[in-house]
Symmetry: D3
Subunit: 132 residues, 6 copies
């Protein structure tokens, strides 16, 4: 199994709902350093899982819909408790949609699955892994 | 599949038994930077795999039984060759016991598995992965 | 010259004032991974610049006054454009006040200077360095 | 499941074939920081997956056949488009051959699989994972 | 003293002249992860040393003149033994010229000095520090 | 000013003397990831501060006198409270002696100063900087 990973980041404000979150129930914020991993059993005609340039561009576009915002006011996230786990799934699903619609190129249609990891600090991170 | 990881560290003395270890057969020591990963197919009512605060607290408690000690004199490890792999299993099993007994909260009872990684230097680390 | 550094982090919401900041003029957020460096020409009776435990505890207390907040609503920062540079100075000055008042112990009174570095992402950080 | 990972690096020149690579079609170069992970369901008599010293030595030997070279002129890679993914497989297959022939010791014969990760920058890396 | 640092990278082929370099006398290559630090005693009207966006853009432009090339064939580097130290100076001088000519904005004219660090692997890096 | 840095590590057992150290008064251990920085105002005939190969070899030799040992039993450290700061000075002084005696080559005689940083965990490190 082959995989390729590219890294970018986003900077958002949000608050979390639930007593378990303690002070994180207040409006605060986070930088999420985001790693997007693309997996495939085989390489395409160019000997890649997915073109790193294309992967980087589309991860950046997906994060561009979230970064520099207050997620509490984002209509697309209404009703979502925006934990790190939940945001990892939001990013993964958006990237998966782009792959399936052919935006990352024909070769990327063979991508078998992706994993999105959001690092929220030097001591905590979360991931969401899904098939395509 | 979702996962959450928290990081802490421990500082121990120990010696290893077996010619293969060369100078590491002498009493020496290590800082292990420890990553504990919790995996779950679904999120709980708070939209998390496990509360990061609880996960951090319990990892710290587990490491607290090992850190600042000479493992060669630890009765709980008598007869154990305390390689990085073996210590990863010790930490994983202790954390698994806490999850199963409900100490990390009811939501954590859905954790499907955990992985413990011990980084012993900038160029070497070991992991142990187990189901719950 | 000796130095000791300890690391912690804070997670805040804020917005920046000024056209130069582009989308960062909107309410967003950041995790700042914070490194506090203490410098001294000589070591104290315990052979340290400052006790790492005390340094860690006081850095955590200083960050505790900022983390999990919307800095735009913090009366202590009213009128401050809370750039990474400016926040580095806020942290440095608060830590310096604690050192001068003896809260980090008598040995820490010989600390000659401190540097605070705030890492806002994997590709950008800022520092403020001052004497004591 | 246990695993052990060791890290080394190699520095090579090469060019890539295919329009998708843009300026990387020109002769350029890369440092690949290489992580070799060895997996096993059980530990050997010394309580390790594989001796870290042996693993380090053999990874270094495998990389020694590639580093400080222009891969475009390497007869062993003739006709290979030397993408990061492809090089990860080259390293993995060479290391697997050494394990199977017993060069990493008898204990290493129980290694179930290996993963090779090549980090080409702070924002991009690729892996190849295979069974033994 | 304040400072701001931004990170980018470049990927080049080159060879080094001199017996001391051993196998690095052959054509090989490197990824240099490049940190550019800007220092200033005071902040500008926007409370920054230099706008991070502008700093990032101009570092990228400077590296764009080197990346994806064989430095042995670069007329601008003819006669230069392109060690990591020497390349750090090339980047620093190019960035300094842009600051002095006002390309990073009027605020950046108060930048007192810059440091360029080139990381060539996980175990080696070089820096060049200069005034403006 | 130019600088070059190389990284290695050592793994030691030791105990610290003084109530301030709390549980670290017990015999425990640490991995120190060690960065050795060499500074010079100018480059030598090969365009380097110091040959990275030589620097790496001599740092490794200096650490070889400490690693895989219980420092409490090391005659060379008798009476020394082996804090991270103190060990940074031990390494720096040993490396400085090698430079002054010409072991790192004639070019290295122009090295103006060195800094040794010992990272004891992901959240704490200490440095010692000296002239030559």
């Amino acid at each position: 199994m082959f995989s390729v990973t590219v890294r970018d980041s986003m900077m958002v404000a949000h608050s979390l709902r639930g007593e378990v979150f303690g002070p994180a129930q207040q409006l605060h914020g986070a930088t999420y350093v985001v790693d997007a991993t693309f997996r495939s059993a085989s390489l395409d005609a160019d000997n890649v899982v997915v073109d790193i340039g294309q992967a980087t561009e589309h991860l950046h576009a997906v994060l561009g819909e979230l970064t520099y915002r207050n997620l509490d006011d984002d209509p697309a996230l209404e009703g979502v408790n925006t934990t790190t786990e939940a945001l990892a799934k939001v990013v993964a699903d958006a990237l998966a949609a782009r792959i399936r619609s052919g935006q990352l190129g024909e070769g990327a249609r063979d991508v078998a699955g992706i994993t999105i990891t959001l690092r929220e600090s030097h001591v905590a991170w979360a991931s969401y892994e899904r098939d395509l």
